[in-house]
C-alpha cells in the first residue's frame, strides 16, 4: 500500500470538512466499541481484568525476549505437521512469495479473511495484476474492496462508512433493489460471497497468533468467513508478522480473553480457528498450507525503545478511545495502521521521515495506554519518536528555536520576570472588552482553525510573581 502519511495534515483537514464522514465518526465514537469494552471489564471484574492485562503483557514480553527461538520452534513444529514456512524480510517479498505460490499451483481466485500484512504488501492489486481475483470476505473488508478504499480501523475496516453508503455500494455492485435494512444487506453480502467461497482455489488469511508449541496459526473472527477461507480452498496461505508468535496454547488462551474483551467487549469471538498443517489425506480441507512470516521493520524494533510496541495484539482499543482518531478517522493517518498504534508502527515501518506528523498529532492524553490490553506505553513511545525527530532534524527550525528560547528565558529568572511582565501587559491591552484575544503571536493555529478556532483568554495583566512580591513588600513594610 502506498503510504500517504506525509500528507497527514491535509488528509485530516479533508476529514474534518467531510460532513458525512464526521457523522459516521460521531456515531462510532459515541456508542460503540469503547462502551462495549467498558461493560466487559465491569462484567469480568476490573481488578481481575488488571491481572489479566499484566499476564498478557508478561506473555508478550516473554515471547519477544526470545523471539528468534520461538520462531524457530514454531517453524519446526509447523513443518513437522506438513506446513511450509516461508520468511520475508519485507512486505514486498511476502507479496512476491504469494504470487509465486499462486503461479506454481495455477490458482485463479483467492478468498481472503482479514490480513493487515496483506494491506502492507498491497497484495490485492498484485494478485489482480497476475490474473488472480482477490475477494475480501470479512464484511467490512468486502465493503471497502467494493469502494476501492483502504481499511480505516484495525478490526472495523469500514467503520467510516454509513449504512446508506453501503446500500448504494451494494446496489451498484450487486444490482437489484436497493436494500436498507442491515439484515438484508448482510444477507446480500453472504449470498455474493458464498459463490466465491465455493469457487476459490486459494485461501489467504492473516494470523492473530502463531502458537510455537504446536506450529499452529490462530485467527479470531465473528462472521465465520475466516474458517471458510482456511478450509474450503485447496491451498491456504497464512501471512502475518514475525512478532505474532506466542509460546504455548495456554498463552494463547490468556491473550484471547483479553483480546476480544478489549476489541469488541466479547468474552470470546464467535469463531476461534486454528490451522495446523494441511488436511490429512483422507479428510477434507486444504492440501497445501503455507505460513509466510514477515519482518517488514519488526526485528529492527527489537532491543530499542520501541520494542514495547511489538506486544501489540491488534485489538483496536487504542483507536476506539483516541479523541484524535475519533475526530479525523483512520484514513488521515495515510497508511495501514491508524490511531495511536499506527502513530508508532507507521514511523517504525515506513520511516519517521515519511510520517513526521504522526507522533506529533496526539495530545498525549493517555486514553490509549490505560486501555491497552498489553500495557503498551503509547504516549511514552510517541514522545520518544518526537525526540528522534528533533535528533534527526525532522522538525521545523522555528519550532526547535521556540523551545530553546523558552528554555533559555526560563533558566534566567530576572530576565524571564521582566519579559513575562511586559508581554502580559502588552497582551492585556490587545484584549477585547470581554477579555479575549482574537490574535496570538505565533498562534494562528489556535485562533484560526477550520471550525472558527478559539479566542485566547487574555492574561490578567500583572503576573503572580509580581503581585506576590508586592504583597510581601507591603507586609514587610
Amino acid at each position: 500500500m502506498k503510504a500517504q502519511s506525509i500528507h497527514f495534515k491535509s488528509r485530516a483537514a479533508a476529514a474534518l470538512d467531510n460532513a458525512v464522514l464526521q457523522d459516521n465518526l460521531r456515531r462510532f465514537s459515541s456508542g460503540g466499541l469503547a462502551q462495549l469494552r467498558s461493560n466487559a471489564v465491569q462484567a469480568y471484574g476490573p481488578a481481575a481484568f488488571e491481572e489479566l492485562r499484566d499476564a498478557a503483557q508478561g506473555i508478550r514480553n516473554r515471547a519477544l525476549a526470545n523471539l528468534d527461538a520461538w520462531i524457530e520452534r514454531f517453524e519446526r513444529e509447523a513443518v513437522r505437521r506438513g506446513a511450509t514456512v516461508l520468511f520475508a524480510e519485507t512486505a514486498e517479498q511476502a507479496r512476491d512469495l504469494v504470487l509465486d505460490i499462486a503461479r506454481r499451483h495455477g490458482l485463479k481466485k483467492a478468498v481472503k479473511s482479514k490480513s493487515m500484512l496483506s494491506e502492507e504488501a498491497g497484495l490485492n492489486d498484485a494478485l489482480d495484476g497476475v490474473g488472480v481475483q482477490p475477494v475480501e470476505t470479512d464484511l467490512g473488508e468486502y465493503i471497502i474492496q467494493l469502494a476501492r478504499e483502504a481499511p480505516s480501523h484495525i478490526i472495523a475496516p469500514a467503520v467510516h462508512k454509513s449504512r446508506d453508503q453501503v446500500s448504494d455500494l451494494f446496489q451498484q455492485h450487486h444490482g437489484g433493489a436497493r436494500k436498507t435494512a442491515i439484515t438484508e444487506l448482510t444477507r446480500e453480502a453472504r449470498e455474493a460471497l458464498r459463490r466465491h467461497f465455493l469457487s476459490a482455489d486459494l485461501g489467504i488469511s492473516g494470523g492473530n497468533f502463531l502458537v510455537a508449541e504446536t506450529g499452529s496459526g490462530a485467527i479470531v473472527t465473528n462472521e465465520g468467513n475466516g474458517r471458510m477461507v482456511t478450509t474450503l480452498p485447496g491451498v491456504h496461505v497464512c501471512i502475518t508478522g514475525i512478532e505474532k508468535v506466542v509460546p504455548t496454547l495456554e498463552d494463547f488462551s490468556t491473550l484471547l480473553r483479553v483480546l476480544t474483551r478489549s476489541a469488541t467487549g466479547q468474552p470470546i469471538s464467535n469463531y476461534v480457528s486454528f490451522f495446523t498443517g494441511p488436511a490429512a489425506a483422507d479428510t477434507e480441507g486444504p492440501r497445501h498450507m503455507y505460513f509466510i512470516l514477515v519482518d517488514g521493520g519488526r526485528s529492527a524494533m527489537l532491543g530499542t525503545d520501541l520494542q514495547d510496541m511489538l506486544r501489540c495484539i491488534r485489538c483496536g482499543a487504542c483507536q476506539n478511545h483516541c479523541p484524535v482518531y475519533q475526530t479525523v478517522g483512520g484514513h488521515a493517518y495515510g497508511w495501514v495502521y491508524a490511531g495511536p498504534m499506527g502513530s508508532v508502527l507507521t514511523p517504525a515501518f515506513i520511516g519517521l521521515e515519511n510520517s513526521p506528523d504522526l507522533p506529533q498529532a496526539a495530545t498525549l492524553c493517555a486514553a490509549c495506554s490505560v486501555v491497552c490490553p498489553v500495557k503498551i506505553p503509547l504516549p511514552d513511545l510517541l514522545r520518544n519518536l518526537r525526540e528522534k525527530e528533533i535528533d534527526r532534524g525532522l522538525r521545523p527550525w522555528y519550532e526547535v528555536l521556540g523551545i530553546r528560547l523558552w528554555s533559555w528565558f526560563a533558566q534566567r529568572p530576572m530576565l524571564y520576570a521582566l519579559a513575562t511582565k511586559l508581554a502580559m501587559r502588552l497582551l492585556r491591552t490587545m484584549a477585547n472588552q470581554r477579555g479575549m484575544l482574537s490574535w496570538l503571536p505565533f498562534g494562528s493555529g489556535w485562533t484560526k482553525a477550520r471550525n472558527g478556532g478559539r479566542f485566547m483568554p487574555a492574561p490578567a495583566g500583572k503576573t503572580f510573581r509580581e503581585q506576590y512580591a508586592a504583597s510581601k513588600r507591603s507586609k514587610g513594610a
Binding site: 493517555a366 518526537r386 528533533i390 530553546r404 526560563a410 529568572p413 484560526k448 478556532g453
Partner: protein, 249 residues
C-alpha cells in the same frame, strides 16, 4: 506543620495569578507553612513533550534545586504535577546523580487537590469565604491528573465541602479537551474540533460553570466557549471555587 513549596506554574503566573493566590490560601488554611520560591519559572514540560530533552533537563534541575528543601511541592495543575512526579526521574540516566534528586522530588510532588485530601487531610473549608450564591458546576477531568496521578475523586470530595456548589457531571468528562500543549497550535484544526466536542458536552450538562484543575484546558475551553458565543458559562479553576474566589469579576 507541613512545609509546602507552592509551584505556581508558568501559566498561572502569567495568565491567572489569582489561582496562585487561591492555592496559597487553601494550603495555609489546611495548616501548611507555605513558601513560594521567588525565582521559579517553568517545570520544563513544553520541552519534554516536544522531544527536546536537554531543555527539559535544564529546567528540571533548576526546579529541583529550588524546591528540594521543601517537604512537599504542590502545583495547582495535574500536568505539571505529572511532569514532576512521573517524568522527572525519566529525564536523567541511571548513573546521573540528578536521577536520585529527581526521584526524591518526585515522591514529594502532589497535585493540589490530591495533596489537600490525601496529605493534609482537609475535612472542611470553614475558614474560607462562603460562596454567596448557588453554583451548579460540571467537572472536567484533565488527562495528566486523571491518568498519570489518579486525580478523580479528590476535587469532587473538596467541592462537596462547599455548601453552595452542586456538581452536575457532563458526558465524556474524562475525554481530552484537545489542548495538548503545542498540539493546540500545531494541529489547531483537530485541537479546536476536540474543544468544540468538550464545549458541547459542557453546554448539555446545563451547569453554570465548568470547573477544572489545569490552566491549559482552562484557556482552551474558555476560548472555545466564548468563540461559540457562550458568554455565560464560567470557567473556573477548582482552587478558585474552593477558596471562594469564584465570585470575583
Amino acid at each position: 506543620m507541613l512545609r509546602v513549596g507552592l509551584f505556581v506554574t508558568c501559566l498561572v503566573d502569567m495568565m491567572r495569578p489569582r489561582i496562585g493566590f487561591a492555592a496559597l490560601r487553601l494550603l495555609e488554611q489546611a495548616g501548611c507553612s507555605v513558601t513560594v520560591p521567588a525565582a521559579q519559572t517553568c517545570c520544563g514540560q513544553p520541552g519534554w513533550n516536544a522531544g527536546h530533552r536537554a531543555s527539559a533537563q535544564a529546567l528540571a534541575k533548576k526546579l529541583i534545586a529550588e524546591f528540594e528543601s521543601c517537604d512537599y511541592v504542590v502545583p495547582p495543575s495535574g500536568s505539571c504535577s505529572g511532569m514532576l512526579r512521573v517524568h522527572y526521574p525519566e529525564l536523567f540516566a541511571a548513573d546521573d546523580p540528578w536521577r536520585e534528586r529527581a526521584r526524591t522530588l518526585a515522591a514529594r510532588s502532589w497535585e493540589l487537590t490530591d495533596f489537600l485530601v490525601n496529605v493534609a487531610g482537609v475535612k472542611n473549608l470553614k475558614n474560607l469565604p462562603e460562596n454567596p450564591t448557588r453554583l451548579t458546576a460540571t467537572y472536567h477531568d484533565s488527562c495528566s491528573g486523571l491518568r498519570e496521578l489518579g486525580v478523580k475523586t479528590q476535587p469532587r470530595t473538596l467541592l462537596a465541602l462547599r455548601p453552595g456548589v452542586e456538581l452536575r457531571e457532563m458526558a465524556e468528562c474524562e475525554t481530552c479537551c484537545g489542548f495538548g500543549g503545542t498540539f493546540s497550535v500545531k494541529y489547531g484544526d483537530i485541537s479546536s474540533a476536540l474543544a468544540e466536542r468538550k464545549c458541547a458536552n459542557i453546554a448539555a450538562s446545563g451547569a453554570q460553570a465548568v470547573v477544572l484543575g489545569d490552566l491549559g484546558c482552562m484557556l482552551n475551553i474558555e476560548g472555545r466557549l466564548r468563540k461559540r458565543g457562550d458568554l455565560d458559562t464560567k470557567v473556573l479553576h477548582v482552587a478558585e471555587v474552593l477558596a471562594g474566589e469564584d465570585q470575583l469579576p
